[in-house]
């Protein structure tokens, strides 16, 4: 009888197919920030994807800078501290969600991935826009809550449904970082922290729900389209502006120094 029960147990394990994998990720920053809200939505959407593949992501919110040994990557919303945190992260991928410093890009830190656009990227986007719209008081950002093209409509709706507030650029940066990690881990579930960082740097078709594929430059900056925003906060258009040279790299390339 006992051996019969064991046989049933073994069979049910076999039916469960691939072994479940769980990956721990960490967050350093304010407990009440748009970037954290976006990050949590991105983790939830990665777990929706992972539910079909027996992969789960967990997020630990840290109070200090000490990263737990088990964490595969760290998301950071703490402007001015990225270089410091990256240096102490033991080679793990450190996602910069909010610091737009150009010098930080030019430093080309081996394990920093900058999701938020640099100041120079935004300035180049505005300059492209002003060629066709002289005198226009525009600014540029990673995201706009009223964007509908490509699949922006869908992501804006999901964020609004989840939080009751519109999705801004910081929220998008958090969401994208979590989805980039999630989608990469789904494909390479055996990854350690170094393999994950390598796979992220190699990825050339990441989906930011902004149309063009996203990828990382040698500086660690995410290549991405931007939105142009008017003085009253209204959505004006997208950059690269049609006809501008250089494609996505026409927006703020920062050579390594």
């Amino acid at each position: 009888m006992r051996s019969y029960l064991y046989a049933i147990a073994a069979a049910s394990v076999l039916i469960a197919a691939a072994p479940a994998a769980e990956f721990e990720l960490a967050y350093i920053g304010s407990a009440d920030s748009a970037s954290l809200r976006g990050l949590k939505l991105g983790i939830e959407e990665s777990n929706h994807q992972g539910a079909f593949l027996d992969v789960t992501l967990t997020l630990t919110e840290l109070t200090g800078k000490a990263v737990p040994d088990g964490a595969l990557a760290v998301f950071v919303d703490r402007p001015g501290s990225i270089a410091d945190i990256a240096a102490g992260a033991g080679g793990r991928a450190v996602f910069n969600l909010s610091d737009d410093s150009d010098a930080l890009r030019s430093a080309c830190l081996a394990n920093a991935l900058h999701i938020i656009p640099s100041a120079k990227m935004r300035a180049d986007a505005v300059a492209q826009w002003q060629v066709g719209n002289p005198g226009s008081k525009a600014s540029a950002a990673a995201w706009h809550s009223k964007a509908v093209k490509f699949a922006a409509r869908d992501l804006n709706r999901r964020y609004l449904d989840r939080y009751g507030s519109p999705m801004d650029a910081l929220a998008w940066a958090g969401w994208f970082a979590a989805r980039a990690v999630g989608d990469t881990l789904m494909r390479e579930p055996a990854s350690d922290a170094a393999a994950l960082l390598g796979a992220l740097k190699q990825a050339d078709g990441l989906d930011g729900q902004k149309g063009d594929p996203h990828s990382f430059r040698a500086s660690g900056q995410l290549r991405q389209p931007l939105v142009l925003v008017g003085a009253a906060g209204e959505l004006l258009g997208e950059a690269p502006v049609r006809g501008a040279q250089g494609g996505l790299d026409g927006l703020g390339s920062s050579p390594c120094q």
Partner: protein, 319 residues
């Protein structure tokens, strides 16, 4: 038992096709209408108002009806292929985007904002099943033997394989980012899938549900703006036609190797495609251009453009 009897009765009926009208039906996503083109004259015959945000389009098995997915109306619109009357709309769950019609008449559709695939009986209006899939489900395909349904989830980057017998998920296949559409080989041994953001076309073996070959170099081989969307196999199985979205073209790929054989420039954001019964004409919707391109497949050249309503999305040809 009743189901089996129904299937036996329905199948012979399904083969009794209506006389072809030679009409091309085009959904106008922003025009809330369907443009009807007489493909023999190449002229627009009618514009039929259908309701909010029509995208996916396809025929009933007997081709007497054209179904359109009305995302903003949460319904499937039913247009009579011959009279061009909008006969009725069928509630279809939230935000239906695309669908495929099973040979038994069941409509399998994707509910984009709910992460669901829905099986709908268009005659009774009964929702037969709702299957949880990934985020932003889009392309739907029914296998040639009618036993499986594929649904792509655009934001979860998967092709879900659903068993028709019990509406269960039998596999979830990760593919390149933003999978859009699927096409089957006639023997059912393979399917191909387009990945819009990744820029890939992949071929999947259905026995193992694994990718056996993928072309990830389409942007280098065609142009940097390529975004693969529509996909169909030529009737002789020799060519896989893929629309390239903002790549503003259609490519003919080798179905085995996925190598690019030929390309033809079409309009802006080439989206849904359809192939004539004789295999000589491809029709493609160019969204922002508000046109349909007519392509001669023997020379791979665009021979005509035909105006449509606003933002044409999908095409279906009754020939």
């Amino acid at each position: 038992m009743l189901r089996i009897l129904t299937a036996l009765v329905l199948l012979p009926l399904a083969q009794a096709l209506a006389e072809p009208t030679h009409r091309l039906f085009v959904t106008n996503e922003a025009g809330d209408s369907v443009t009807v083109i007489d493909t023999r004259s190449g002229e627009v015959e009618a514009t039929v108002p259908v309701g909010g945000r029509p995208r996916g389009i396809g025929f009933s098995p007997d081709r007497k009806l054209v179904y359109v997915a009305l995302g903003n109306d949460n319904a499937i619109g039913v247009v009579n292929t011959a009279s061009l009357k909008l006969e009725r709309t069928i509630p279809a769950g939230s935000d239906p985007e695309a669908f495929a019609v099973h040979p038994d008449g069941t409509i399998y559709l994707s509910n984009e904002d709910e992460g669901l695939a829905t099986a709908l009986n268009p005659e009774s209006g009964e929702i037969l099943a709702e299957i949880k899939v990934g985020l932003e489900p889009e392309g739907v395909g029914v296998s040639p033997d009618g036993q499986q349904v594929l649904v792509t989830s655009e934001s979860s980057n998967m092709v879900h394989v659903i068993s028709v017998a019990d509406n269960s998920l039998v596999a979830n296949i990760l593919v390149g980012a933003r999978p859009r559409e699927v096409a089957f080989s006639p023997d059912g041994k393979h399917f191909w899938v387009t990945s819009e953001v990744a820029g890939h076309v992949s071929k999947v073996d259905r026995a193992t549900n694994r990718i056996v070959v993928a072309n990830k170099q389409l942007r280098r081989q065609i142009n940097p703006r390529v975004k693969p969307k529509g996909i169909l196999l030529s009737h002789d199985g020799e060519r896989l036609y893929v629309s390239m979205g903002r790549g503003n073209s259609i490519a003919a790929l080798d179905p085995e190797t996925l190598a690019v054989l030929e390309t033809v420039e079409t309009g802006v954001r080439t989206w849904g495609i359809a192939l004539s019964r004789d295999g000589k004409r491809l029709y493609a919707a160019n969204g922002p251009d508000a046109t349909v391109s007519v392509v001669d497949t023997t020379t791979m050249s665009e021979i005509k453009t035909i105006p449509t309503g606003e933002m044409p999305w999908g095409v279906a040809l009754d020939d």
